[in-house]
């Protein structure tokens, strides 16, 4: 944990609504060091995905304010052209639904090599690197499967392809937006393990967006708990699990069902309006 890679300060995002703009992220602060794994945790609608998308300015109709500094350069102030150069090359994104994130009429290989090809890497070299990466991610017979189409891959395999696309250009930061939600438990574990190994090998920082507290414990170094568009608690995973300070974090942890728990007791629901 040496130098800061990503520093988000007072990030606000609003979207046009029927009666004027609606602010959905109300001033979020985040810090991410090189090689660090940070989890952004919260229930649905807490603003975690919007925060991640705002960092990359993915939604053209969102109004953003605050600062998002990647290596000191404010991404929110960059012209579109320079922003495009950062997407995919310096920051990779793993999408939630691996089927929807792949173009159905292009081959797997074409899509994996695209981040390199559009930056002028010769096709042959890009292909070599793509096949190697796919094999590294545990796809058997990668050379032959490189020319297959997305529908010929299973869910877990597709997610490996999506990860390959995100990391092939060796970004400094990988944003993973619920990368395992669409997968079954066994595949989830394998995909997380791969992400862990890969980021370790390449000294990549990871911003993991999830609502699954089990994943956070096994994967991240630190966590930020979000609710209603605000970061309510930030700390090491250790602290958040064992010494939660914020009421919401405590409630969130208590709401996780446990196998050893008394099955006759109803699960705790989080009261609305609790801050």
């Amino acid at each position: 944990m040496t130098s800061t890679l990503l520093a988000v300060r007072d990030l606000r995002a609003s979207y046009p609504g029927p009666s004027g703009p609606v602010e959905v992220v109300h001033g979020v602060d985040l810090d991410l060091a090189r090689g660090e794994k940070l989890a952004l945790v919260g229930e649905s609608g807490s603003g975690k995905s919007v925060t991640a998308r705002a960092i990359l300015r993915l939604d053209p109709d969102a109004t953003l304010s605050g600062r998002v500094e990647l290596d000191g350069a404010d991404l929110l102030a960059l012209p579109t052209r320079r922003m495009r150069a950062i997407r995919g090359a310096r920051v990779g994104l793993v999408f939630q639904d691996p089927l929807a994130a792949l173009n159905p009429v292009m081959t797997i290989g074409w899509q994996i090599t695209q981040p390199l090809v559009i930056r002028g890497v010769p096709k042959k070299i890009a292909r070599r690197r793509g096949v190697d990466l796919l094999a590294r991610l545990g796809v058997r017979d990668a050379e032959r499967r490189f020319d297959d189409y997305p529908h010929q891959f299973s869910g877990g395999m597709r997610q490996r392809v999506v990860i390959a696309i995100a990391v092939i250009a060796e970004p400094d930061l990988l944003i993973a937006d619920e990368p395992t939600t669409a997968l079954d438990v066994r595949v989830q574990a394998r995909v997380l393990e791969l992400l862990h190994e890969l980021t370790g090998e390449r000294d990549m920082a990871v911003l993991l967006i999830t609502h699954d507290l089990g994943i956070v414990a096994g994967f991240a170094d630190r966590a930020v708990v979000m609710r209603h568009g605000r970061a309510v608690e930030t700390g090491s995973v250790e602290d958040i699990y064992h010494r939660p300070r914020h009421e919401y974090t405590k409630a969130l942890l208590a709401a996780v069902p446990r196998i050893g728990g008394d099955p006759t007791r109803p699960l705790i629901t989080i009261k609305e309006g609790e801050r």
Binding site: L93, P104, Q114
Partner: protein, 273 residues
């Protein structure tokens, strides 16, 4: 599955045959298609004239072979022009923002409201009746349908997550449109175009039939039917064989369209190829 494959193959074979005949037809034609021989007028199919002769004693088979060179290119030009224009306008409308969309779609509405026959009649009056006027009029009235279709298809695809994902990789706008949005959106357009081959062919023939398309000595298929229709009772072959040529070509292109769609969609391609 195997039966569908067989039909596809036959359709492809027929389509290839029609196109081949359009190219080499004049070399195969047993007679001069324009040679009037009143002594042999309205003879039924025979060894000398397989498809019989028309009211002027011209060999129907030779005329059909020559006519393919008139009808097919005219159809292809109309379809190509309308597809290009329609795709361009539809795509720009779908991606260009509200104001652009509104202007282009109202323009499309104007185009849709013009009946091709009326426009062809007007153009025939301005440019002189002929195949050229018919082709221009048809292209001008055919594109709005494509523009509407493409606009809807592109709007559906442009918000797909894989388009988002590609944008996320720093893919440029042009590449996004040509490699990600259009290849996914235009699958249904292929089918529409091949279905339209028959429709356009029929309208060209129809325009020739009412007299604003191909003119009298021309062996255009519709013009042939128009000329022979007066003698339907005592010379059915002069109507039936050009009609059959239109029918066969139309059906073949329809089936080829279906086959093309299957070929272009990797998710249903397996086993059907």
């Amino acid at each position: 599955m195997t039966r569908i494959m067989a039909i596809d193959r036959i359709a492809l074979a027929v389509a290839v045959l029609v196109v081949t005949l359009a190219v080499v037809g004049p070399f195969l034609a047993p007679h001069d298609p324009y040679a009037v021989d009143l002594a042999n007028a309205l003879h039924g199919p025979s060894a000398a004239h397989w498809f019989g002769t028309d009211v002027n004693g011209r060999d129907v088979l030779s005329r059909i072979l020559y006519g393919a060179q008139v009808t097919l290119p005219a159809t292809v030009i109309v379809i190509a022009a309308a597809t290009l224009l329609g795709t361009l306008i539809g795509t720009v409308a779908a991606l260009g923002g509200k104001a652009v969309d509104e202007v282009l779609m109202r323009l499309t509405d104007i185009g849709l409201s013009l009946p091709s026959i009326i426009l062809a009649l007007g153009l025939a009056a301005a440019l002189g009746p002929g195949l050229r006027s018919a082709v221009i009029a048809l292209a001008l009235t055919w594109w709005p349908g494509y523009a509407r279709l493409v606009r809807t298809l592109v709007r559906e695809v442009k918000d797909a997550e894989y388009v988002d994902a590609a944008r996320m990789l720093g893919v440029s706008r042009a590449r996004l449109v040509f490699r990600h949005i259009l290849p996914n959106a235009l699958n249904s357009l292929y089918v529409q175009t091949t279905l339209d081959v028959s429709a356009v062919m029929l309208v060209i023939s129809g325009l020739s039939f009412v007299g604003v398309g191909a003119q009298v000595p021309s062996a255009e298929w519709g013009a042939m039917i128009a000329a022979a229709a007066n003698n339907l009772t005592n010379g059915w072959w002069a109507v039936a064989f050009p009609g059959l040529a239109i029918l066969l070509t139309a059906v073949a292109f329809n089936l080829v369209g279906d086959w093309l769609r299957v070929r272009n969609d990797p998710t249903i391609r397996e086993g059907v190829r």
